[in-house]
């Protein structure tokens, strides 16, 4: 096999070291003019950024020991002159400028570019007041052109959620910085117009460096804003950041939150006005009611109503008179009746039965006495007669006769004594008894 001398084959490390030695020896102490971008300060204190011009850029590192001479930290967009050496970093295979010295060089080229574009567009009438559209009175749909993850959409939603219960928001998500940002922003504005999706558009992004915000200074974006039929509110960066988009927009909001408030300013005004009406009309109505109430209570307090005598005094008096008359006539009548009654009662007392009875009783007593007397007299008479009769009878008492020798014969027949008055009263063998004054003699008829 023939061995020919072929091209030299390097390993990656070999070529990297070749490049490194050439570059680092060739560019040992150089100065480069350009604009700072992608500036980053690490916590270590080292600074990393790119230096760029219109077409190229170079990575730069400025280590902490070199930064001591810096009066201020550079920022994106700063036009600077750097001094240092080129260094190759083999693990990444890239080269960078190790900065030993940094000098600022006045206004950056971005600003220059911005200034030029501003002049150009001003001439075109992009920023004329007369081309500005009025914001819709009460926008139904609000379009937002911004990053879905940025501060703008959050700020706007915070404001809207806090201030309003209802709103319709459509976000057209775009990149707001870096490659392709300006095209996306311009297209989003065009698309909202093309489909007539919203009544007003808020275009914006959060704060950042001039370079970060630069998409909003690009002609394509400014043009899209100018051409939009839908009114546009710009909210780019902080209040101090002013972009060409702000000039072209119909309204410039100092902040995204302000943009949200501007969009619904009329709505909140209307709501406020309405609440005011509500308050006042309620107030007046209540007031007029109070007024009427007061009037009513005054009427009630009026003597005409507060005292019945005012209205009915005459009648009441008449009533009183009538009552008195009535009373009087009744009393008269009663008195008359009483009088009559007195007469009657006198008459009645005159014919009082008790008195009569007493009289009768008295009479009765005299009668009693009379009767008693006459009865006594009668008794005495009878007694005397009786005594006379007794003495007479005593004279004829058979017992007394017996003593004089007379006797009485009794038939004892049938065990029953019977006086024998005739001889015929006795028969033979009849038992008889003869009563004498000192005893009895029994015998038998022979």
């Amino acid at each position: 096999m023939n061995i020919t001398i072929s091209k030299k084959v390097y390993s990656v490390s070999q070529i990297t070291y070749e490049i490194k030695s050439i570059l680092e020896s060739e560019f040992r102490l150089i100065s480069i003019k350009g604009e700072i971008s992608n500036f980053k300060k690490q916590s270590s204190g080292h600074l990393y950024f790119s230096l760029k011009d219109e077409t190229s850029q170079i990575s730069c590192a400025m280590f902490k020991n070199s930064t001591n001479s810096l009066k201020e930290l550079p920022k994106d967009g700063d036009q600077v002159i750097l001094e240092g050496e080129i260094s190759v970093y083999p693990p990444r295979g890239n080269y960078q400028l190790i900065v030993r010295k940094l000098e600022f060089e006045g206004i950056g080229s971005l600003l220059l570019k911005l200034q030029k574009l501003k002049e150009k567009l001003t001439v075109k009438g992009f920023f004329d007041e007369k081309n500005k559209k009025a914001l819709p009175f009460l926008p139904k749909k609000i379009g937002i052109v911004t990053s879905p993850t940025g501060a703008v959409i959050q700020d706007i939603l915070n404001v809207l959620n806090r201030r309003f219960d209802t709103f319709h928001l459509i976000l057209n998500p775009v990149k707001v910085q870096g490659e392709g940002a300006k095209e996306e922003i311009a297209k989003a504005i065009d698309d909202f117009n093309k489909y007539n999706l919203v009544d007003v558009i808020i275009v914006g992004r959060g704060g950042g460096s001039l370079e970060d915000l630069f998409a909003f200074n690009e002609e394509i974006v400014v043009e899209a804003i100018f051409n939009s039929k839908i009114p546009i509110i710009s909210a780019v960066g902080h209040e101090t950041d002013v972009s060409l988009s702000d000039f072209a927009a119909d309204v410039r909001a100092p902040t995204p939150s302000a943009a949200a408030e501007i969009v619904l300013k009329e709505k909140s005004k209307l709501i406020e006005r309405l609440l005011n009406y509500k308050k006042h009309i309620l107030k007046y109505t209540l007031y007029s009611f109070k007024n009427l109430k007061l009037k009513l209570s005054n009427y009630i307090k009026h003597p005409l109503f507060s005292s019945s005598y005012i209205l009915l005094g005459k009648e009441m008096q008449m009533l009183d008179d009538m009552r008195e008359n009535l009373d009087n006539s009744i009393i008269q009548k009663i008195l008359k009746q009483k009088e009559i009654l007195n007469i009657f009662s006198k008459q009645l007392s005159r014919i009082n039965p008790i008195a009569k009875l007493l009289n009768y009783k008295l009479d009765l007593k005299t009668y009693e006495k009379k009767i008693e007397n006459s009865y006594k007299n009668y008794l005495n008479l009878k007694k005397n007669n009786f005594l006379k009769l007794i003495s007479h009878l005593k004279g004829i008492d058979p017992k007394n006769l017996l003593k004089k020798g007379y006797s009485i014969c009794f038939n004892e027949k049938n065990k029953k004594s019977s006086i024998i008055l005739s001889i015929k009263d006795v028969k033979k063998d009849d038992r008889i008894s003869i009563l004498l004054s000192d005893g009895k003699i029994e015998g038998k008829i022979l």
């Binding site: 057209n172 297209k187 999706l197 009406y277 109505t285």
Partner: protein, 88 residues
């Protein structure tokens, strides 16, 4: 625009009603009528102002940044306000 006219008219009338009430010369009966009318107007305006639902949407785009179209309208979905890029 139609709404605007309504609001303007309604507010004009509300102004009139307020003035009339403020005059203090209205009778109880007519003040009640005025109140009723004002209340009706306020309710209508409020409804007009607040009678929409809250909607937060985001356009759906394809890889080329073109909005996805459905029935001639760009497609939308509800925007989750909590969503944040891991880069943030």
């Amino acid at each position: 625009m139609k709404e605007e006219i309504n609001f303007e008219k309604a507010f004009e009338r509300l102004d009139e009603i307020l003035n009339e009430m403020n005059d203090g010369k209205v009778s109880l009966d007519s003040s009640l009528k005025l109140f009723e009318e004002a209340n009706k107007l306020i309710v209508i305006c409020q409804k007009n102002l607040l009678d929409a639902e809250k909607k937060i949407e985001i356009l759906i785009k394809d890889r080329n940044g073109e909005p996805e179209i459905e029935n001639g309208e760009p497609k939308k979905e509800f925007f989750n306000t909590a969503q944040k890029s891991i880069l943030d």
